[in-house]
Amino acid sequence: MHWKTRSRLTSWLLGIVTIGFLLFQWLPMFTMFLLSFAGENGGTTFPMNGVSLHWYRKLWEADLFDDFKPPMLRSFLLALGCSVTTVVLSVTAAQAMRGRFIGSGAYFYLLLLGLMAPGILVGFGFAILTRLLGIEGAWNTTAYVVHVSWALPFGFMTMLAVFNRFDPRLEEAALTLGATRVTAFRRITWPIILPGVIGTALFGFSLSYDEYARTLFTAGSDGTLPLAVMAQLDRQLTPELYAIGTVTTVMSLVAIFLCTFAFWLRSRALRGRPSH
């Protein structure tokens, strides 16, 4: 009896801490959403001075200095490229790990290194490398290489976890029935690991799309969206920045939602099949 009341008390305390933190985590973003709809005379803090889509319109009809559309397009294309490359490299690397080649232990740590190395060091080091080689940095060359090195460890870990849960007997069955290893991979392995591949692609996209430190050192003259946002913040903080923040955040939320939905559809479809 005595323990039970005390346990209930801890539940309440921990619950308050958790809810408090969630509020603390979401309220700044919520403030930003709200203020992005401020009126024309609205500032960067309260009061809002009316409600309008003025700052979104300004974002769309931007002039030369604060036009976010080209950096946004660059960020999008870079993230897409990073996503595809991360998927290919993560799947090949994880498949290679299944081959338990000599040195695979060291190889595992080599790929994990990208997770530990902070962006500011990787970016700076890569800038030195390109400078020594006499290569001009650009968002779609040097920044691309560094972005993939950031997303790859996440994708690699995801694919390793997927292969760990994978039932090798399914492949064995295909091979026994005369399929080549390539066919077995294409027809059996690939469809089963597909949810993990989608997760990896999402990692590749969002880690690249949001990356700032690595891009800062390697992107050259044409910046990506985070660089443009930071440059605008250096000049002046306007509700326009809140508008762009809201747009990118909503895009991220939609991407997460679509992925979760795809997973859910897939797991429902798999459950629907007759078991054997």
Partner: protein, 287 residues
């Protein structure tokens, strides 16, 4: 038998692209920083003799030494706060919340911001913490303060609040993982043997989640040390940590000084990771 033969040539060939990529984009650049930090002479050139002068010059400056200590103190503080907060949240979500629907909802509310831009999240703290910001308005409305608090924004307090918000998930995630891997029978057994809930926590739950705590702390440690975005967005120009110093030197084209600070930062990080590895064997965690 699987779609790849153990120790086959194919395994090696499949491993090559990702391995080369990481060598070229992470390992080689890191070694280059180390090399550049040792370049001597007047001009910046690889032909100059190797020397430790750059380090001596940097470390002889008292304000730089103070800045290093300050960065470490900040990291320690954030580790402490996120550690306690993250553990409480992890424990509540995995042990105390019994309804699966609620658990999923709360967990999503906890994790989703992690998938959005850190830069945007840091910027969002400006209208939240400002003099007319939401936090001040709320405190005024509640009658807790009579005048808006100026010190929330462009201050260490504001930076710390933003960092806690950004990094608590890193401290919490590994604990959630470890809590989930504890079989319920273990607790039940202890309860049957008349252990009090506190004893169960101290003797069973805490030791079994220790690896999660340590990994979370390492993640927070590494992220706070390398964080310069939160400091510039929420801290204004009043505050600088090692990450900001790297950027400052780089923008001033002082490549060797940048390299020196980078190497020192790397050394501190490696030391931290080494300490953590002495406490827990990370390789055992996955198994």
């Amino acid at each position: 038998m699987s779609s790849i033969r153990p120790r086959s040539a194919a395994a090696y060939w499949l491993a090559v692209p990702a391995g080369l990529w990481m060598l070229a984009a992470v390992v080689l650049p890191t070694l280059l920083i180390l090399w550049v930090s040792l370049w001597g002479g007047q001009s910046v050139s690889p032909d100059n003799p190797i020397t430790f002068d750059n380090y001596a010059r940097f470390l002889s400056n008292g304000s730089y030494r103070a800045l290093m200590l300050d960065t470490l103190a900040q990291a320690a503080m954030i580790m402490g706060i996120t550690g306690v907060l993250g553990y409480c949240i992890a424990y509540f979500l995995t042990v105390k919340v019994t309804s699966p629907a609620w658990r999923t909802a709360l967990f999503l509310a906890f994790v989703i911001p992690f998938w959005t831009s850190t830069l945007i999240r840091a910027i969002a703290f400006v209208p939240f913490l400002g003099v007319n910001g939401l936090l001040n308005q709320a405190l005024l409305a509640a009658g807790l303060i009579e005048q808006p608090i100026q010190a929330f924004l462009y201050s260490r307090l504001g930076v710390s609040m933003a960092q806690v918000s950004l990094y608590t998930l890193l401290a919490s995630g590994p604990v959630v993982y470890m809590l989930n891997s504890i079989p319920p029978a273990l607790r039940e057994a202890a309860m049957t043997l008349k252990a009090s809930p506190f004893t169960v926590f101290r003797r069973i739950i805490l030791p079994l989640t220790l690896p999660g705590i340590v990994i979370g702390q390492v993640l927070v440690f590494l992220n706070v040390l390398a964080d310069f975005i939160t400091v510039t967005t929420v801290g204004g120009n009043k505050l600088a940590f090692l990450g900001n110093l790297i950027l400052l030197f780089y923008e001033g084209s002082q490549i060797r000084a940048t390299a020196v600070v980078s190497v020192l930062l790397m050394a501190v990080m490696l030391a931290g990771v080494a300490v953590a590895l002495r406490i827990v064997d990370i390789r055992k965690v996955g198994g």
